[in-house]
Amino acid sequence: MHNTSSSQPPEPQKPLISLTAVSKHYQLGKIAVPALRNVDLDIERGAFVALWGPSGSGKSSLLNLIGLVDMPSSGRVRLDGQDTAGLDDAARAGLRNRAIGFVFQGFNLIPVLSALENVMLPLTIRGSTRKLARQAAEQRLAEVGLVDFSHHRPDQLSGGQRQRVAIARALVTDPLIVVADEPTANLDANTGHQVIALMRELNQKQGVTFLFSTHDPRLIDAVDKLIRLADGQIETAPEAPHATAALHTEGALS
């Protein structure tokens, strides 16, 4: 099971994610509070990209727009060349299911489902047969090292294990991109390190594109590309941190 994007020849002229002049305002009473201002951003296939910035800088807003769970106030969001502006709710849901994997800070596993059922969930929603969903989920659980915990409920798993289940769930549909909002924020240092290593391994071995927001310096050290946000704008041009640039020169940098 590999990322579909990795089996096709990359098209350098067509980034996986492309944001053009994207702004997002939230309405607080009568006041429009800007969260993102005129953001232009491209993310290439196979990238391992971090969004970094202080609280309120617009990281989550940007992830929400790229994850198609929110709509921009203005500007264009393109996913794999497709403009998402004209899609209705059902079409956006279908596109999220097919193309995007989510990893949440709070894991967001369904408490009444086992680890295996949680991983099967995106395929079940898609309408895959139970047999196919189960096979794919078992394979992904094996990849994150939790095959022995298939039948455990989330409350029977540690934080690190829950986040591994969440990663397996994000990957089970072979998405074009995995969007992760502060994936290590609720984990202790050691577990966080293991989760970072797992994501990096999946990125390198399977070419899965990862985009995540983080405050975690260990995670920032591991990325190919760091996008700094401040006051809803990209502060500096994308760059590869010194610590990782030498290690990942073959990585899919933009």
Partner: protein
């Protein structure tokens, strides 16, 4: 499938709350079905009492206008002996008619020699009457060999101090307006079942009433059909045949003639609708309340499912299935309660005296599979509809807000 899995597991997860909702539905369900079973037996008892006890059969045939003016001017509406013979002959060709009973009503005074009091009486052919009453409802029989003997209602017999074999006298006016009196031997006393008639009723042979009224005819012909025949359908089939034979008649069903049955049925139907409405609202509000709480607690879960690609209708279906499951399970528990209580109450052989009744009747509750099934289906659908409101609210929560919900 995922909707059912999530519904069942969430119901189990919140089992204390689910149980409270289930019991509300189950008790409501049982209340509806126990009452339906009770009034079913009441209606059945009243039907048997009206058709066989009161002797209304299925249909009553009389000359047109009799039912409006017959009690004031009975002489105008008498079928002559020849007409009766022709009518009876025609009716005997109908194989589904089991009893053909010509009738003649009379009222007047009855006396024991010392005390006189009013009576109302029905004159009927003893054989036909005895077959009409065959339904094991405890009525004594007229004696075809004793043309001057009749049955006296219990309270009237008590008032007159009469016992079986006692001699009484009846007084009335003939149809021509002459005063007339006849000796009457009391056969037995019988309970009419209603306090209003138990102190003034007689059942007499038709020939006795004919002599008392000085006529050879009858004003009505009562028909009893085979079991299961619908009175309205029987009338619809019979009316054109009688018209074709030259009889200008009105035909009334037993329901139309039994005011008491109609009044009791209307009252109980009203009470049933009232009870059903209350249960309907209780079930609706229980489901809405339970699922609203469930939605509030699962906002993040809803956001997660939406982020993973579930459409709004998928979210609606999760809560709709949860509501329907609660409804169906509640009804299943309700079936158990209904059957257990209904059977227990009937087996307990309790009795009570209904208003205007002259004697206690058994309290029995019928178990009605068709009513149980239709209530189950209806309350399940109500539960599903009740679930739709919180479900639609859940489906329209913005994903970003839901994911950020704590």
């Amino acid at each position: 499938m995922i909707a059912l899995t999530l519904a069942l597991r969430n119901l189990w997860k919140n089992r204390r709350r689910s149980l409270a909702t289930l019991l509300a539905i189950a008790i409501g369900f049982a209340a509806i079905n126990l009452f339906a079973g009770y009034i079913h037996n009441v209606y059945n008892g009243l039907r048997v009492s009206a058709m066989h006890g009161e002797g209304l059969g299925h249909l009553t045939i009389a000359r047109r206008g009799f039912f409006e003016e017959g009690s004031l001017k009975p002489e105008r509406f008498v079928f002559s002996r020849d007409e009766l013979a022709r009518l009876t002959g025609l009716l005997q060709q109908q194989s589904d008619i089991t009893v053909i009973s010509p009738r003649l009503s009379v009222s007047g005074l009855v006396s024991n020699g010392k005390l006189s009091t009013i009576f109302i009486a029905e004159g009927e052919d003893p054989d036909a009457a005895n077959r009409m009453w065959r339904r094991g409802i405890g009525l004594p029989k007229l004696d075809a060999t004793k043309p001057n003997a009749g049955l006296v209602s219990k309270k009237l017999a008590a008032m007159l101090g009469a016992e079986p074999g006692s001699d009484l006298v009846t007084f009335t006016s003939t149809l021509a307006g002459q005063t007339n009196a006849l000796d009457l031997e009391m056969l037995k006393a019988w309970d009419t079942g209603t306090a209003a008639t138990n102190d003034k009723s007689l059942r007499l042979p038709l020939s006795y009433v004919q002599r008392l009224l000085d006529t050879e005819g009858a004003t009505r012909v009562v028909l009893l059909f085979k079991d299961g025949v619908d009175a309205d359908a029987a009338r619809a089939s019979l009316a054109p045949k009688l018209k074709a034979a030259g009889f200008d008649v009105d035909i009334k069903t037993w329901v139309e003639l039994s005011n008491f049955y109609r009044q009791v049925k209307n009252l109980f139907d009203l009470i049933f609708m009232f009870l059903f409405s209350i249960v309907f609202i209780v079930v609706l509000m229980s489901i809405v309340n339970t699922l609203s709480m469930s939605v509030m607690e699962r906002v993040r879960e809803i956001g997660t499912l939406r982020a993973l690609g579930m459409r709004r209708r998928g979210i609606v279906s999760i809560f709709a299935v949860e509501g329907a499951t609660l409804g169906a399970l509640g009804c299943l528990i309700g079936i158990v309660i209904s059957v257990a209580l209904g059977t227990g109450i009937t087996a307990g052989q309790f009795t009570y005296t209904p208003p205007s009744s002259s004697s206690p009747v058994p309290l029995s509750i019928a178990i009605l599979p068709a009513t149980l099934a239709s209530t189950l289906a209806l309350l399940s659908v109500v539960s599903m509809i009740a679930a739709c409101w919180p479900a639609r609210r859940a489906a329209h929560i913005e994903i970003v807000d839901a994911l950020g919900h704590v």
